[in-house]
Subunit: 136 residues, 4 copies
DNA sequence: TTTT
DNA sequence: TTTT
């Protein structure tokens, strides 16, 4: 069976990092993918989907180091669904993309950095491309 | 931005078909993807994810014709999220894979058909492969 | 940078296996992907592409064990190009898909086996799904 | 059968454009994908693959308008192989990725444009995202 | 060279 | 809720 999600989009906020009692690091963030299309009346519409993403261990460390609000990221992983109960005992369902690989395509330019930081992204993102991390 | 989901899995039930007042046909079904792995104690575990899938128009017609409970299907599409309210007014979120393409890899063998029905699947699935339907 | 190839197709022949002096095992095989389309005159045409595939180490072992001529396989990997010289010293170029993951979708039914052998494929292919082999 | 290639990489040169006698436009360009890995001695190595890409019709027009040497592009398509004969009558084989969709991730910054042009890329690339062009 |  |  195959379960693969590929996203290219931007982070809506900095990743939230947690370290579990086991020592494993987790990073969560949400990524927007936008799509433009012409509606029936010929107007351009934009539709944005926000995806919840989770990454573990060394990917989490790299998310912490390199990803910030606005980063443009290529990510692939798998689509997972979890059921849980809220405080009122209502059943809830959460869908997350569990990332297996990501790569920064540009980093968000902040106010202090007027230049094009995308040139530094490959170096940063390059840190991801050790043999262990790559699916191939 | 890129938003692509690729699944190979089995249908949990026959597709549910609806025709909207606009005449557009919709088919919904859920697909299971299973993954096996060894847990810490060395035992094999299987983890199944159930994905809600929606397909429109000619894909819906083909889903109606060719897909049944148990069909093994290759599907790709995009990941979408919708918010809505239940009867109590509680906010709910639904995640669906909107299919852009699918192909039957084998059809479920039913009781009357002791033989290998996968031979008929390519012919059936073959109906999908006109130039219009294929992304390429 | 991303370089990913996804194929679902059939093997044209049994894999060829080699063990290098280093002890690393390599398997090579070619996979056909066929596409049907209507040409301008409305006739159905079929176009087949033959892809050279190479897999290494445990994937090669599994290719040897489970893949045979006619097997229907899901495979993903990366697209690679090599230059070399033939005996006459002419420059040659070879393109291969280096597989990172594969999964048998059905095995070829041979003459002795009139039944549906696809039922055995998942068990066989299931051997692939240890945590180490899966990209996720 | 599935035959899909996904690349994120940079153009090695401006696209070459041709218009066939039929009026159909074709654009050809080559895209580099690089991968870094540590070799046995612990040194970082970089390996670059150059892929020949062909796009047709409106994709070719957009390639002409928006792609230049150095552009970072997401592209997907299918892997094709053609046989032909060179002038000496020797058999030759050419492998090309026939693009079905592409999207500019940043455009090459030229000398006159000291700023970050990636901000304009979405607008440019946005032209691609009409419903007709997108596989979904 | 596969398969339907 | 599938399948092996």
């Amino acid at each position: 069976m195959i379960n693969r999600v590929t996203l290219v989009g931007r982070l809506g906020a900095d990743p939230e990092i947690r370290t579990l009692s086991s020592g494993a690091m987790v990073a969560k963030f949400s990524m927007a993918t936008s799509e433009s299309y012409k509606d029936r009346s010929g107007e351009w519409q934009e539709e944005t989907q926000w995806h919840d993403v989770v990454v573990w261990r060394n990917l989490a460390e790299r998310a912490q180091q390199y990803l910030t609000k606005g980063s443009l990221v290529y990510l692939d992983g798998k689509l997972t669904h979890r059921k849980w109960q809220d405080k009122e005992g209502n059943p809830r369902k959460t869908t997350e993309v569990v990332g297996a690989f990501f790569r920064i395509l540009d980093s968000k330019r902040d106010g202090n950095d007027s230049g094009d930081t995308s040139s530094s992204a490959p170096a940063a993102g390059g840190g991801m491309e050790s043999e262990e991390d790559l699916p191939f």
